[in-house]
């Protein structure tokens, strides 16, 4: 453990252990004895994948662990100002929360109380902890709102959370958190749910606040690239243990631990495009990395490829009722046109609300009426009546974003994978279909016995594999991946991306790869289409678009990508 010198330690965590009781007989160790320091006036990033114990650690500091099934064994200490926070009485701890140590969470919509105005929630903190009167608190609240960058604070102070955008909600949360000028701000994945441009703004805001208030920030995230931009110190956790910790330069330049190295390299990077993405296991087993992870893969369209799908002037509007008889039209997709080549990948990027998902669902006829044409194999997909869609449904398939919601929880994997075969009458007998399913399971890297299991027995990454397998049963020509890896951890993401690539190499499927993650899109796509507010902003080969963006919006988007710590140093 590297000790911290410089200006002093704000919080010292020593040998923290946390156990969770799952039922009468099972106890799991979420945190297995970790120690690190949070220095004064600095940013510490706590990095790890899901299940690493980082959120548990943060909650432990504030004493927010659920009483009914969590225990912190004696011997663990969290020292703050000479006192062990774990041993404090609840009343004492409450005085610290919000005043000395405050926290912001990942989902601002669920962290803010929906029935109170923003102003109320800010002033609550002020009146309770600082003893201000209502009027004083309101004045201070307006100041805070201005400080966190909410436009029109006089109007917004009386707004309810649902009336603000995601980014504004997060800013409001931050305002509440810094209202009492705490010494430590714990931020638990505060930007994961935000668009990449907003994400950048929030990060800058937190950095600015940290400097001005001279407070410490404990920044929890799974994204190492993000960490590089803002952190002074980095602590890497895996499965309840600290794998490595130290200054940010050291972690990024000379990572000691294999896992740290894996985390750094599993993410697709803008500079390189290896043939296969390395995964954690590549680093954890001894020996050099496989050649495939070092070779480069080239992507891009030459212009003479066979076009399998051509979309012309696609438009989709949603109507909502306005008043008693009126109808309001919301144009989700306006005049989108593109061509998809056989065996190639088209990446669609854009922020939330840009219409990229709507494009995909409309092509699949899952969203009802639309305008424009989608020429596929000589026929216009959008004008085929529903009753005749069956043969075409096989040929374009989709993998959804949320692996937890796209599989029917009551079906076994076998039933899930057999169903498309049964519906489309593929194969001549049940046993033949079963064989196909077993082969597919093998192809996506799942054991045969999965056939009899239920989705909830699998992790997120495994479920995405199942979803991919489900699409493969029908041997589609086009596979749409709608944010298919966005909800996955970095290492799992790499595995799934590799799988997708292998399948494309094997079966020559065409992909439409939708994502907000620009690095991933650059890695996977041959051609990239940038969308904003329902319209196509720019279309080009992926290398070209990243090297030489034409449209200002594209430029703005690219500049928001976290550059890693080098970017921070460059600033």
């Amino acid at each position: 453990m590297t000790a911290v010198n410089s200006s002093g330690t704000l919080i010292a965590i020593r040998d923290l252990k946390v156990d969770f009781r799952l039922d009468r007989t099972t106890v799991t160790q979420a945190v297995k004895g970790i120690s690190f320091d949070i220095p004064v006036n600095s940013t510490v990033a706590l990095v790890g994948e899901s299940g690493s114990g980082k959120s548990v650690t943060a909650l432990a500091i504030l004493g927010l662990l659920p009483k009914e099934n969590s225990t912190v064994p004696p011997g663990s200490r969290i020292l703050y100002g000479g006192r062990n926070l774990l041993a404090l009485a609840p009343g004492e701890l409450q005085k610290l929360r919000g005043a000395d140590i405050s926290m912001i969470f990942q989902e601002p919509m669920s962290s803010l109380n929906p029935v109170f105005t923003i102003g109320f929630q800010i002033t609550e903190v002020l009146t309770k902890h600082l003893g201000m009167t209502g009027r004083q608190a309101r004045v201070r609240a307006l100041e805070l709102l201005r400080e966190v960058g909410i436009p029109e604070p006089e109007a917004k102070i009386d707004a309810y959370p649902f009336q603000l955008s995601g980014g504004q909600q997060q800013r409001a949360m931050i305002a509440i958190a810094i209202a009492c000028e705490p010494k430590l701000l714990i931020a638990d994945e505060p930007t994961t749910a935000l668009d990449v441009t907003i994400q950048k703004q929030i990060l800058e805001l937190i950095a600015a606040l940290q400097k001005r208030l001279r407070m410490s920030v404990l920044f929890i995230t799974h994204d190492l690239a993000l960490v590089g931009e803002i952190a002074d110190y980095v602590v890497v956790m895996r499965e309840g243990e600290i794998k490595e910790q130290g200054r940010v330069e050291q972690i990024f330049e000379a990572p000691q631990d294999a896992y740290t190295r894996a985390l750094l390299l599993c993410r697709p990077q803008l500079e390189r495009r290896p043939r296969r993405l390395p995964v954690i296991d590549d680093f954890l087993k001894p020996g050099p990395l496989a050649g495939s992870t070092l070779e480069e893969r080239s992507r891009g369209l030459r212009g003479d490829e066979e076009i399998i799908l051509e979309v012309r002037h696609l438009g989709k509007s949603f109507y909502s009722r306005e008043g008693l008889f009126g109808k309001r039209e919301f144009k989700a997709v306006k005049n989108v046109s593109f061509k998809l080549a056989r065996g190639k990948t088209l990446g669609i990027v854009g922020e939330s609300g840009s219409g990229k998902t709507t494009v995909a669902l409309t092509l699949l006829r899952l969203r009802g009426e639309s305008s424009g044409e989608a020429l596929f194999d000589g026929k216009d997909l959008l004008s085929i009546p529903q009753t005749e869609m069956m043969p075409y449904k096989r040929r374009i398939q989709i993998v959804f974003q949320n692996p937890y919601a796209s599989l029917n929880p009551r079906f076994t994997i076998g039933q899930l994978l057999m169903e498309p075969l049964q519906v489309h009458r593929i194969g001549s007998s049940e046993s033949e279909r079963r064989d196909r399913v077993y082969k597919l399971l093998e192809e996506v890297g799942l054991p045969e016995v999965s056939f009899f299991k239920y989705p909830h027995e699998f992790s997120g990454g495994q479920r995405q594999r199942i979803a991919i397998a489900r699409c493969l049963t029908m041997k589609p020509d086009v596979l749409i991946c709608d944010e298919a890896v966005s909800a996955l951890d970095v290492s799992i993401q790499a595995q799934v991306l590799n799988l997708l690539q292998d399948l494309q190499d094997e079966h020559h499927m065409s992909y439409i790869f939708i994502s907000h993650d620009l690095a991933v899109v650059k890695y996977m796509a041959d051609q990239v289409m940038v969308m904003n507010e329902g319209e196509v902003v720019e279309v080009a080969n992926s290398d070209d678009i990243y090297r030489n963006p034409q449209h200002p919006y594209t430029k703005k988007l690219l500049s928001s990508i976290p550059q890693g710590w080098r970017g921070a140093r460059a600033r």
């Binding site: 969770f20 299940g51 548990v56 659920p66 899952l366 989709i398 498309p420 489900r470 029908m474």
Partner: protein
């Protein structure tokens, strides 16, 4: 999902079994639930045994004297009620009728047969007493269990079936289909439940067990309908349904193969609740005279008879029916509660 549970599950890597196994395990931990489950099983057993005539097959035989008291009280002191002035004791004796065309035949028959048959001895007391005609109250109670439970179960299944179909159609398709079913539902629920069943019972001239089942089933679907419809509205927009649509699953397939298993636990709990409700409704109907016919005994008909008996001080039939009913209804209700806890979908 509470953060605690989320953290816990995120931490756990071990294998976890399917939904029903989990539910069963949870259920077994609940002691009250287990006891009530045993009670329900016991009553089911009674119903089955009675249904195949293993027990209480002779419930209608008059084995005791009229209003035979329970054995633990002792036989009734001879005070067989006041007699009427000038009444001839015993039955009619008959006389000659010169106009009778059957006189000859009757004389032959009487000559052929010997002495009058000996009436079967009637017990002065029975285990739990006898009713007006001397039938064994205990056997009647058991037979009544069969009737009441059968009616409750079948009516509940009927109601659940109707409600599931209606709810699925309304929740899934929405639009004017939903409007139609909602209108239909509103008509049924705007009339107070008891008045509704009495009104229908009075109009249907055909009396009997089947009628009661139909009445209860055809009026009791509304509560389940509302819940099923809500579940369908919820599930219809879920991603796995979109995925099913993308695969090419038809509407009926999506409704009944995909969504229905996700809703089945709700329906099961509602089914259980409605069994209890319909048992109580059947008792009320039979008590008011609109329920099962004369040749069938149910707790309701026993309570009906108990009305006039209580005035005369004969309480055992009332006690037996009430005890049995109280035990079953309480047990079943507690069982339903435990079932609902065990199937809590949040902890899937």
């Amino acid at each position: 999902m509470t953060q605690a549970a989320a953290l816990a599950i995120g931490v756990q890597r071990a294998e976890s079994p399917g939904l029903w196994t989990l539910a069963w395990r949870r259920f077994c931990r609940d002691r009250v639930g287990l006891v009530s489950f045993l009670i329900v099983v016991f009553f089911f057993g009674l119903m089955a045994a009675s249904g195949v005539h293993l027990i209480a097959a002779d419930w209608s035989k008059e084995v005791g004297v009229n209003y035979a008291p329970p054995t633990f009280i002792g036989p009734e002191v001879a005070d067989g009620g006041p007699s009427a002035p000038g009444s001839h004791g015993g039955e009619r004796t008959g006389e000659a009728n010169p106009f009778d065309p059957l006189a000859g035949v009757l004389a032959e028959i009487r000559a052929a047969s010997g002495a009058a048959s000996v009436a079967e001895a009637q017990a002065p007391t029975l285990v739990f007493g006898g009713d007006r005609w001397g039938r064994d109250v205990l056997q009647k109670t058991i037979k009544g269990t069969e009737t009441s439970m059968f009616v409750g179960l079948v009516a509940a299944v009927l109601a659940a079936f109707l409600a599931t179909v209606f709810g699925a159609l309304a929740g899934y398709y929405g639009g004017w289909i939903d409007d139609f079913f909602n209108w239909f539902y509103s008509v049924f629920t705007s009339i107070p439940y008891l008045l509704l069943i009495l009104a229908i019972a009075a109009v249907l001239n055909q009396k009997g067990t089947l009628t009661v089942i139909l009445i209860l089933g055809l009026t009791g679907w509304t509560g389940i309908f509302r819940l099923v419809r809500a579940e369908y509205l919820k599930h219809k927009v879920r991603e796995y349904i979109q995925a099913a649509d993308a695969i090419g699953a038809s509407h009926p397939r999506r409704m009944f193969v995909h969504i229905l298993p996700n809703v089945s636990h709700v329906i099961l709990v509602q089914l259980s609740l409605h069994v209890v409700l319909f048992i109580k409704s059947e008792v009320v109907l039979s008590f008011l005279g609109f329920g099962v016919g004369v040749d069938t005994v149910s707790w309701g008909s026993m309570l009906n008879e108990a009305q006039s008996e209580l005035i005369l001080g004969y309480w055992w039939q009332l006690a037996a029916a009430t005890l049995a009913m109280a035990l079953l209804v309480t047990g079943f209700s507690l069982f339903t509660d435990a079932l609902r806890d065990a199937l809590d979908p949040k902890l899937k």
